[in-house]
Chain length 185, copies 2
Amino acid sequence: MPDLIEVFREHGYEGASLSLIGARTGLGKGSLYHFFPGGKEEMAASVLAEIDAWFEHRVFAPLRGDPDPEAAIAAMFQATDLYFRSGARMCLIGIFALCDARDRFAGAIHGYFATWTQTLAEAMVRSGRNPGEARDIAEDIVGGIQGALVLARAVNDPGVFARALRRLAVRGGGLSSVRHRDTQP
Amino acid sequence: MPDLIEVFREHGYEGASLSLIGARTGLGKGSLYHFFPGGKEEMAASVLAEIDAWFEHRVFAPLRGDPDPEAAIAAMFQATDLYFRSGARMCLIGIFALCDARDRFAGAIHGYFATWTQTLAEAMVRSGRNPGEARDIAEDIVGGIQGALVLARAVNDPGVFARALRRLAVRGGGLSSVRHRDTQP
DNA sequence: GTCTATAGAGTGATAGAC
DNA sequence: GTCTATCACTCTATAGAC
């Protein structure tokens, strides 16, 4: 249900009223409660699960399984730029992490960010970094992406996100970073 | 009104109901509407203004006026760590930037982040960096702080914020960064 | 008939304004 | 405290598929 995702993304959990959801999806309350007997909370949970599945398939699994970890990391940055529309689209899970109902979804929110950070760090270890440095850089990247999305929205300039992604990609082991490491003593 | 700030910080704009605000501040609705004739929106606006004033006094003004820009930047990191309680406290303005009512407060939100980024970049220029690099690093730091706060809350680990602040301080021209620059060709 | 999807009036509770 | 609007939600009725 892409419309459902967008209502929550644009209005947050409390802002996404059932009347808004109904208007946007074209579904009456009967249909909504037929598909989601648990009401609004179940709708939001299914949205979080859908997003998590997208990232699992497009980002986390490649980071885990790709025999070339540096290529997987580069692909991650590309997928991220695509998903967030170069900074024009917010991260719904980040929005939920800050909203008043965050405790109800703490598991999904924690899982998303923890998995991202961990699979990214592991890919970096496989590409030759030591574990401590890898965790540090992974946190830098995942946090940097979130912060850039907030900042881009706050100052209404998607360019903030583009510049941030470029910096983070270099730190994450883009080509320039590899070359840089190779020239170190 | 520190209680008012905390209600909005903990519950967001939509989550901070008048009954919650009344309970926390000990004020009845009559008193609240006497102090804030504009209702909830005026309460939130005054909270944003109060936070902006704190940062203006403790962060932005020193960044602008201190004859030693590197000391001002170091003081900024210290004030930031103190203000956000080493990652245990969220940024209210970041929360407002993502909530459904964000458009009503767009001016204050934009002003806060734009001023922080700009005064920080200018301090870096005064400490010897070129303007383009300074803006890039300033965006990295201000965005990195926001992202670290979100990530720290999402995975329930304030250590994320502490590690991020340490990385960002180095990039911003902490002592180690200066030493590093001095040893470059 | 049964099952699934839908519509929408109506519920009590609570919101913010005054 | 009183007001009205709106909230999430329930329930009954009904449509067509099989």
